[in-house]
């Protein structure tokens, strides 16, 4: 090969790199065999605690992932394919993404969805930018029930962009209508809501949305997809842009990623939507097929005028969630949602009987709820870890003054026995 190229050594190929540009150091360990790497990483994994019974949620949930999801997604034809820029040899990925978009649309009851964004937080940021593009206004009203993690992400991204943010508090677990209404004006681009919110409570935002629309203001709602088996959809309420974290749709927790940001909206806003979109069309022989469409919004065509800089998204995670939604199916998804709700309700009732626990009951909840403890939540959670439970997430971590509160999530994986044992341990800790 070197002879064909016309050089003597491999080093000759790197002649453009000048001697003084060579690495000052490249001091790395020697390579290992496959067996050694796996053993080494297994030993590192053992340093993680994995035997805790988890009631941790906060937007990321410990749902069961059916075996068929993992098996199908591991197929090299899906996992090792490139972005489907060549539709003739990418119909598998393209059709799956079209089906995914359709599934997200029926789940949220919206008209159109994109083919994924990185995660729920960055999807919400993209939705805000989209609303600003649509309305040409720069004020955002943010409900205090929106995940504090998402709010931190949004703050980082918009810090330099002269966007005015107004935050409204949560009252009795729900959005504060009066405060929101007071802030709405002709400079307001969008209201940002979350359902169920970070405290776990469910709301019907229809009234807020109606008021917003009267002033040409868009409403963006971040949702937890599993709740939509039962809970009123953003489409029914009249939301303009829906986003959410799709981790609960068949993706493992994976210590924070890869996850799945989804987005759906009204048909009239499709050209303002960021990310890839797959469309159905026909080929030269009239056969129906799928392509990436409306690409003139994207960075590889539009460069600095693109709707977003997003390129690689999370296609495989989108397909993974599609397989999950397909396996559960129409009734199965409702049943799963109901089971989550029932288990959480059972747990609420159980915890209410314990002295030193006040379960917040002012608004309905789905599978996560807020409790107030007689002691500092982080101290109680710490003691519960010793008993084998990840008992919940302390709200004091993100909300000043809520040091005695925690949120507790219950998925279909938790059993009655585990819940009763949890209650017993909590009772013991609180009585000490």
């Amino acid at each position: 090969m070197l002879k064909v190229i016309g050089v003597n050594t491999i080093d000759d190929l790197f002649a453009d790199i000048q001697p003084h540009q060579k690495p000052k150091s490249f001091d790395l360990p020697n390579g290992l065999s496959e067996f050694e790497v796996i053993e080494k990483i297994k030993r590192i994994a053992e340093k993680n605690t994995t035997n805790l019974i988890s009631f941790l949620g906060g937007g990321y949930y410990d749902h069961y992932v059916p075996a068929a999801v993992t098996a199908l997604i591991s197929r090299g034809e899906f996992s090792t394919a490139y972005t489907p820029y060549q539709p003739e040899c990418s119909q598998g990925t393209l059709q799956a993404l079209y089906e995914y978009q359709s599934a997200i649309c029926t789940l949220t009851e919206m008209d159109v969805a994109n083919a994924s964004l990185y995660d729920g937080g960055t999807a919400l940021y993209e939705a805000i930018m989209m609303a600003i593009r649509i309305t040409r206004r720069k004020k955002i009203v943010m409900d205090g029930g929106v995940s504090p993690i998402y709010r931190k992400i949004i703050h980082s991204y918009t810090n330099n962009l002269n966007i005015e943010f107004k935050e409204t508090p949560v009252v009795h677990g729900q959005s504060d209508r009066d405060q929101i209404n007071n802030l709405l004006d002709k400079d307001t681009a969008a209201i940002i809501l979350q359902n169920p919110n970070f405290f776990g409570t469910i709301d019907d935002h229809s009234d807020i949305i109606q008021k917003a629309h009267e002033q040409g203001i868009l409403v963006i709602e971040s949702v937890y997809p599993v709740s939509l088996g039962i809970v009123k959809t953003p489409g029914e309420m009249g939301v303009d842009i829906v986003t959410g974290e799709g981790q609960s749709l068949g993706l493992p927790l994976n210590f924070g990623g890869p996850y799945l940001g989804f987005m759906s909206t009204r048909k009239k806003y499709i050209r303002k939507m960021p990310g890839r979109i797959v469309g159905k069309t026909i080929d030269s022989s009239g056969k129906s097929c799928f392509v990436n469409t409306l690409q003139a919004r994207e960075q590889h065509i539009r460069r600095e005028k693109a709707t977003s800089n997003i390129c690689t998204n999370v296609s495989l995670c989108a397909v993974q969630s599609l397989i999950y939604m397909s396996l559960l199916g129409k009734q199965g998804f409702v049943n799963l949602s109901q089971l989550n709700l029932d288990k959480a309700e059972f747990m609420r009732k159980t915890l209410e009987t314990i002295e030193g626990v006040e379960v917040k009951r002012s608004s309905p909840t789905f599978n996560e709820f807020t409790v107030r403890l007689a002691k500092e939540a982080s101290v109680v959670i710490n003691a519960m870890i010793e008993k084998g439970f990840a008992a919940g997430f302390p709200l004091g971590r993100y909300y000043k003054g809520m040091e005695n509160y925690m949120i507790v999530a219950v998925t279909e994986k938790r059993t009655k026995e585990e819940i009763l044992k949890y209650a017993e341990c909590l009772k013991e800790i609180l009585s000490q």
Partner: protein, 483 residues
Amino acid sequence: MKLIFEKSVEGRQGFGIPQSDVGPQEGIPEKYKREKPACFPEASELDIVRHFTDLAHKNFSIDTHFYPLGSCTMKYNPKFADVVTQIPGFANLHPLLPQLTKGETLSQGAIEVLYETEQWLCEMTGMDHFTMQPLAGAHGELTGVMMMAAYHKAKGNQKTHIIVPDSSHGTNPATAAIAGYNIVAVPSDENGVMNMEELAKRITDETAGLMLTCPNTHGIFNSNIDKIAKMIHAVDGIMYYDGANLNAILGRCRPGDIGFDVIHINVHKTFATPHGGGGPGAGPVGVTKKLEPYLPISRVVKHENGQFGLDYDYPHSIGYVAPFYGNFGIILRAYAYMLMLGQEGLKQTSNHAVLNANYIKERLKEHYALAYDHICMHESVFSASLQAQRGVHAIDIAKFLIDKNIHPPTIYFPLTVKEAIMIEPTETESKETLDEFIETMIEADSLSKTDPDSFHNCPQSTPINRPDEVKAAKEMNTNYFAS
């Protein structure tokens, strides 16, 4: 092929939901309930397995096909990394666990992986610190440019624009614009690198920085890089290294040593994590000491007692760019890949990537116009201009290759070359595969002379022929339920 929704049979279900062990409970009030269930498919597990297996068969992939896709580094993704990510100690780890009091002690293994990967990447690139948070390459770019902006803000600099070469990836100008900067483009010179005179004219006190791939998208390493860095630094600008082409220079050159201040890495390129049909990727960002205060939080730290932790107390930080600690599952794969290759393996990666690219370039240059006749790095750019005169364009050659079971190279990019065909074979392909590709490309050239019309029916062997993209954009059928 039918959609999964069209295969639905009422009452069928692919997965059994467990019986409730808590009995019926009080539900939520009617006003909070959805009216109709989502129209998910009603299908058995076997129906679903067959459906998605059929779909899989309609894809090209690295496991099945050669992808000489310029600037995308479609190398083989070793299978052992799949095993690593499924180790329960990682896959089931909740990301909020370390945010509980003393929670870091419950996730020491995962934090160690992040820490170790940072150390490897620092040594490999000559950077002082890394963050694993960015969720893809373009996300890394945004993180890098946000740090750039924070740096200028802290120093009181009035900066308005970022310079990019005309051969840059589309994400560079898109990122700079989203971060609030204007874009100034610099043309390439006759050698395929940035025109130095034109660059000098564009550098002003308002220059926030320069974003550069090195080697660039023409596959050429710019020997003037130190001079460029001096010019940018002279106005207190930041040198941004787009790591899309890092696969060319492992062990040969480190961005940190030649004047770059910030770098992002596409781990789905250089470190062999699967592309997934368009993600998930990961885009770690490295910085020199100058930008260290602005790194996103949380940051991974190693305490004196050897314990690992996550630290949030950095007042100048740009803040959260991702919900947690990056795409951990992807970073873990990249870490495993680096452990396997080690120092020597990483050097050999670039050696072979560059050797393979030059071999193709030399063998094809008699048949296709070479954009720049120069020793290339990991990729080279041809033009189908000769073939286009015969009515056969880059897109036609691409479709011809599909019929020959080869994924087409990148075409019509970089925008600086007309009828561009950008070829990056990567190090993982054998000489036999390269030769087969070369012969096929030569065959395409010959056919363009004898039967140019035959190209317009390609591809014939795929599940579909050429799609009507105009119809797709016009009708916007993107949702089965609204179609």
